[in-house]
Amino acid sequence: MANIVIDRIRKSFGAFQALKEISLTINDGEFVSLLGPSGCGKTTLLRIIAGLETSTSGDVRIGDRSIIGLAPKDRGLAMVFQNYAVFPHMTVYENVAFGLRMQKADDARVKAQVEKAAGLLHIEPYLDRYPNKLSGGQRQRVAVARALAVEPKVLLMDEPLSNLDALLRLEMRTELKTVLQSAGTTTIYVTHDQTEAMGLSDRIAVMHNGVVEQVGHPVEIYNHPATRFVGGFIGNPPMNFIKVPVSNGQVVAGAEQLAVPEDVGNEIVLGLRGEAVELAPLPQGIEMKVRVAEPMGSHLLLTGSIHDQPVRVILPASETVKSGDTIGLKLDRKRITWLSPESGKSFPAVSA
């Protein structure tokens, strides 16, 4: 069993708190992404798990054994670095074999494991080459193969795709998912790219300023962000936040009355996904002033304002809305998230 328990980890660099009491549990065989903007502490957390950095306080357990005092090599994990860290003075074969050689594996096992890992990552043709002759994508594969060759219980990856161009990134993402699913390795994957996290993960932990803001299934995080930050960070376009007046526990949206959580004041923030709307005639719909209409081919992207607050919504490509139009929108009430204007935290979903 290789479940990972991150227990109240804190890390300070001098007076600066990079991690403020992080707790997170990752199940055996699960793929969890640490997602957040640059500088939020993802790499620091990963390095603490790997043993390359010491935590100020807190504990990390793998398979119910505390690893916090262990040397990196005794933690039973492998890592893929952001810049790959593929050894330039060794052939691809020796790179992939490195971990096994350090474990003093016999030649037959080294050969078998290297061939297996190379096969998974499609790098057999380059085994005799030196990494500098390889492209970024190929080097990235070598780094992953080196990690998988030791059959780690836990695999840590720090933005492994961020140095690749967009097309290659998409391709590698799909391949990584296939490879890791078949290997069944418990994986922690650091990224600042939300589409990457959404596509790959069983669960995502969204981090912000050294705090985990929300942990959950990608769809759950997308539809019901726990905080304003999460809603704004996930999704393209990001979630819209519209401050609306509340009267008698209800919000008026065009001809509709929307029930809000009970214990709110006279204002609430309506969190709305751009695609959770459809066109409706005024005054049934809520009024939106369209500043710019961008036909994207697959859909129509509208930028404008509702209640004088900026919003971005998405309509089917077949709709004919032009820049400068005023339109009515019917909101999909099941997909509305209500948030507190003060704390920025969301309320549990209401049924009405």
Binding site: K73, A78, F81, P88, H89, F98, M102
Partner: protein, 283 residues
């Protein structure tokens, strides 16, 4: 633009080429001619005179011995210093600064510093005497104590010349991203394995530069030896100096100069071959 006027790059490097030719190539050719001629005709008479001199074999042997002992020790110490200072966070600059002080001391001054320590009335004897190790002044730098003299010179040279090696090696170590060592650590390499299998191969270019520079300089050792041992410890440059100044024989001095140059070139060539740096295998 340069396509229209292809002579511009040549024009721009002309001053430096002319400068080098005037101040380096001309004297070089003159020296070689001086060494290999006698009364205006090509001749090996000077070389013969050099080789048959009683100090020749000793000076060759001493110079090589000193180089073989001093250079590896300097590289090893510099590697140790560079690796240690890489682990230091605050105060790193200060430590480096202190370590490079010997760089700023001329070799003659360095020799005199060590002379004041090791001469009969020097600090070293005073220390040993006050500790009761010796009963009366011992001499370390005379022709009767060749081993002590050799060690004294080697120590002074190591003290004086390690800093430059360290500077080069620290620069080399700085070029190696820390992720290489971290990756090796995660995959199970201990400190020694990391050093031998990762760090050392990756600083190969710096190592090569340091070795070439230090070896060439070691073959040119003179002032420290002169200050500490005088003529008790003949070395190649010392002999060239003596032939030139004491014996007023510029031709034999020139042969020594040519010999030193050949040895240096050969050493450089050997390092370039033996420590071949393949750009393909660098970070």
């Amino acid at each position: 633009m340069t396509q229209n006027r292809p002579w511009i790059p040549y024009l721009l490097i002309l001053p430096s080429v002319a400068f080098l030719a005037l101040l380096f190539v001309v004297p070089l050719v003159q020296t070689i001619w001086l060494a290999l001629s006698d009364n205006g005709a090509p001749s090996l008479a000077n070389a013969e005179r050099m080789v048959t001199d009683i100090n020749f074999t000793r000076s060759v042997r001493n110079t090589f011995l000193l180089t073989i002992v001093v250079v590896p020790v300097q590289i090893a110490i510099a590697l140790a210093m560079g690796t240690m200072v890489a682990k230091v966070g605050r105060g790193r600059e200060t430590i480096l600064w202190i370590w490079t002080i010997p760089l700023g001391i001329s070799d003659l001054a360095a020799g005199l510093v060590w002379l004041s320590i090791l001469q009969n009335t020097g600090y070293f004897n005073s220390l040993l005497f006050s500790l009761g190790v010796i009963g009366r002044q011992a001499s370390w730098l005379s022709y009767q104590t060749p081993v002590a003299l050799f060690i004294a010179i080697a120590v002074a040279e190591i003290w004086r010349g390690t800093a430059i090696v360290m500077v080069i090696i620290v620069a080399g170590l700085n070029q190696v991203p820390k992720e290489f060592k971290e990756a090796a650590e995660i995959f199970g390499a201990g400190p020694w394995t990391r050093f031998w299998r990762i760090t050392l191969p990756l600083i190969r270019p710096a190592l090569q530069s340091a070795l070439i520079l230090r070896t060439v300089l070691a073959f040119e050792v003179f002032a420290v030896v002169y200050a500490l041992g005088g003529r008790n410890f003949p070395v190649l440059v010392g002999e060239a100096y003596n032939w030139q100044n004491q014996n007023q024989n510029y031709s034999v001095a020139a042969v020594y100069a040519v010999l030193i140059m050949i040895i240096s070139l050969a050493a450089t060539l050997i390092y370039l071959k033996a420590l071949k740096v393949d750009p393909e295998r660098l970070p």
